[in-house]
């Protein structure tokens, strides 16, 4: 086993009331990595987190922590801490006592408790809030207390279950950067669960895309975005144009009634494939210059760019462009070889 691996899941199966939640999931998480489980609700990402935390006992499979099997070990004996959805702060304790909770259980010396709690509160930017009642804190502040409460115990791994879900957009962006900074500063592993693809791409070293209790793809944010392994990933990570195509030969694919040069090879001759083209990778040109020509149906101003819906051969393309065409206009479209991503066709 790779000795850099801190958490390893092997063939995890979880079911509730005969409904399978995780279906033989295997995964290695490396030390000091920021890993994100990404997927729609019900995909099993939170359950995976809870398996690592010890709150869900898998029906079968093994959980290794630093190479040791910890299946059956209760949460309070695991060297991981969790930041819960909606924080789960103890309402009857003030900020200081919430953060000190774990240390006090370990019978840490009072001076040490004080030092570490104050230090941690400073790290999360809540210096001076020690005596405050939990109920009087804003959502963002409660979030910080929850993170401090976990981190102060110096876990090897911090698990975060959609921690930013309850915050407004601006605060969420702020906290994303903050979390990334904390992870780098504390130099430990963060395992993060979210359904927000942008959040996942912004913060992670590794993204694990999940669906129906199965892993769809594991990779860096760039890989996931640029080289999705199937239509689900392509669709879930940002907007895409996904078309059926035919791999004529290496470096040449046919779709939308036209032949295109591409950089992919290794498919069989005339194999049916799916082609992914990101909306921002389509160049709008005059109709004569275009590899394809289409009719602009709709133009929506999105702030940084325009989103255009273009009909071509019965398919509706989505194109992001900084220049707007007029609805009803006929345009040409160019797609470079690097911008075409080819995937084996999936059944659905």
């Amino acid at each position: 086993m790779d000795n850099n691996v801190i958490v390893s899941l092997k063939n995890i199966v979880v079911d509730f009331d005969d409904q399978i939640i995780l279906n033989g999931l295997s995964l290695d998480i490396h030390d000091k990595e920021f890993v994100t489980f990404l997927g729609p609700s019900g995909c099993g990402k939170t359950t995976t987190l809870r398996v690592i935390g010890g709150f869900v006992e898998p029906k079968s499979g093994n959980v290794f922590f630093n190479g040791q099997d910890i299946a059956g070990l209760p949460p309070y004996k695991r060297q991981v801490n969790t930041v819960f959805q909606k924080y789960a702060l103890f309402p009857h304790l003030n900020v200081f006592e919430n953060v000190a909770f774990g240390l006090r259980l370990k019978k840490t010396e009072e001076r040490e408790v004080r030092r570490r709690v104050l230090e941690m509160l400073e790290v999360v930017g809540l210096k001076g809030f020690e005596r405050r009642n939990i109920a009087t804190l804003s959502g963002g502040q409660q979030q910080r207390v929850a993170i401090a409460r976990g981190l102060v115990n110096q876990p090897k791994v911090l698990l975060l279950d959609e921690p930013l879900g309850a915050l407004d957009l601006k605060l969420r962006k702020e906290m994303q950067l903050e979390l990334k900074r904390l992870q780098r500063e504390m130099d430990i592993t963060f395992v993060y669960v979210t359904h927000d693809q942008e959040e996942a791409l912004t913060m992670s070293d590794t993204v694990v895309v999940m669906k129906d209790g199965l892993i769809q793809q594991i990779g860096s944010p760039e890989d996931i975005y640029n080289e999705p392994e199937n239509a689900f990933v392509a669709e879930f990570i940002g907007e895409s144009n996904i078309l059926d195509g035919l791999m004529l030969r290496d470096f040449c694919v046919e779709f939308a009634g036209n032949e295109f040069a591409c950089v992919d090879k290794g498919f069989a001759r005339n194999q049916l494939v799916q082609v992914v083209v990101r909306p921002e990778d389509i160049k709008v040109v005059s109709p004569i210059q275009g590899q394809l020509t289409g009719l602009v149906r709709e133009v929506i101003f999105k702030g940084v760019h325009f989103e255009m819906h273009v009909e071509q051969g019965g398919f509706e393309w989505i194109i992001h462009s900084t220049q707007a065409s007029q609805p009803g206009e006929v345009i040409g479209m160019c797609i470079g070889p690097d911008e075409i991503h080819i995937m084996a066709r999936t059944e659905d």
């Binding site: 709150f55 209760p74 949460p75 819960f84 909606k86 789960a88 103890f90 009857h92 259980l105 009642n133």
Partner: protein
């Protein structure tokens, strides 16, 4: 109708209704200071009835008994009821529904039926104990149980459901993740219960305890059938009302009314102070 007239009418109606509620109490209070035993003519001011009340050992003993019974039964009910509420919360819907219907029985049943049914149970037990003892030839089972044991059992029985109905909603509201967070931070399940779950439930448990105390002290009908020869305060009051004229009752009513008023004012005052304190923290 004009808005002004409408308001005046509302006010007049409320004044009349509250007079109806309070006039009898006020009359009692006034006549508790009446020199003569008359209940309709005020002949002069005196505190004699208060003095005789406080030297009336029957009343004082009854008060003491009521308080002790109330505290014991409230403690037992609160502990058993809180345990039960926690147990029930982990059951499935169907069992929960059955148990909550079971808990409603003593609440909706007329008190007189709860009273006589318990009395019958105790009588049945007594004849069983007498039979069993004579069979065995020695007094193994206690026979004369009417008194303390029966009163306590009766009071705990009618208090228990109120604990369930107070604590269960609080448990349902509580975030399950609080318990998980405690485990996550290193609590064993037992520690998590005492350090996190119990403090969270404490307000509900306390109010359940107070409800038990008040219901126990106030209860007449069920105690009446189960007390044997003991006299709780309401039973002592009842025996006083049977002796037609006794102005001590007026004095007692006045004192009880003032005591209740004081308790309500104090709790309100503390509530509002807590409220202001919370406000200031913002």
């Amino acid at each position: 109708m004009k808005k002004k007239h409408w308001r005046a009418l509302q006010r007049a109606y409320l004044v009349m209704l509250f007079s109806f509620l309070y006039l009898p109490i006020a009359v009692m209070a006034v006549f508790s200071f009446n020199e003569s035993k008359s209940r309709s003519v005020f002949t002069g001011f005196t505190l004699d009835w208060y003095k005789s009340l406080f030297s009336n050992s029957m009343i004082l003993d009854a008060l003491a008994l009521s308080l002790v019974i109330a505290v014991i039964s409230a403690v037992i009910s609160t502990v058993l009821g809180t345990m039960a509420a926690i147990g029930i919360s982990s059951m499935d819907r169907r069992s929960r529904l059955i148990i909550s219907n079971l808990s409603y029985v003593p609440i909706v049943n007329p008190e007189i039926i709860t009273g006589v049914s318990l009395m019958l149970l105790f009588v049945a037990y007594q004849s069983f104990a007498a039979w069993a003892n004579s069979e065995m030839g020695s007094a193994v089972l206690p026979e004369a149980i009417f008194g303390w044991p029966t009163l306590l059992i009766a009071h705990i029985s009618f208090c228990l459901p109120y604990v369930i109905f107070n604590v269960s909603p609080k448990l349902r509201q509580m975030d399950v993740r609080l318990y998980e967070a405690a485990l996550d931070l290193g609590c064993t399940p037992k520690q998590a219960f005492f350090k996190v779950v119990l403090p969270e439930l404490m307000p509900a448990i306390l109010s359940a305890f107070l409800i038990c105390i008040t219901y126990s002290i106030d209860d007449f009908i069920i105690s009446y059938f189960t007390c044997g020869t003991l006299q709780t305060l309401p039973i002592a009051i009842y025996s006083m009302t049977r002796k037609k004229v006794s102005p001590e009752i007026n004095a007692l009513s006045t004192i009880m009314f003032l005591a209740i008023l004081a308790i309500i004012l104090i709790t309100n005052f503390m509530d509002s102070r807590q409220y202001h304190k919370d406000q200031q923290k913002h």
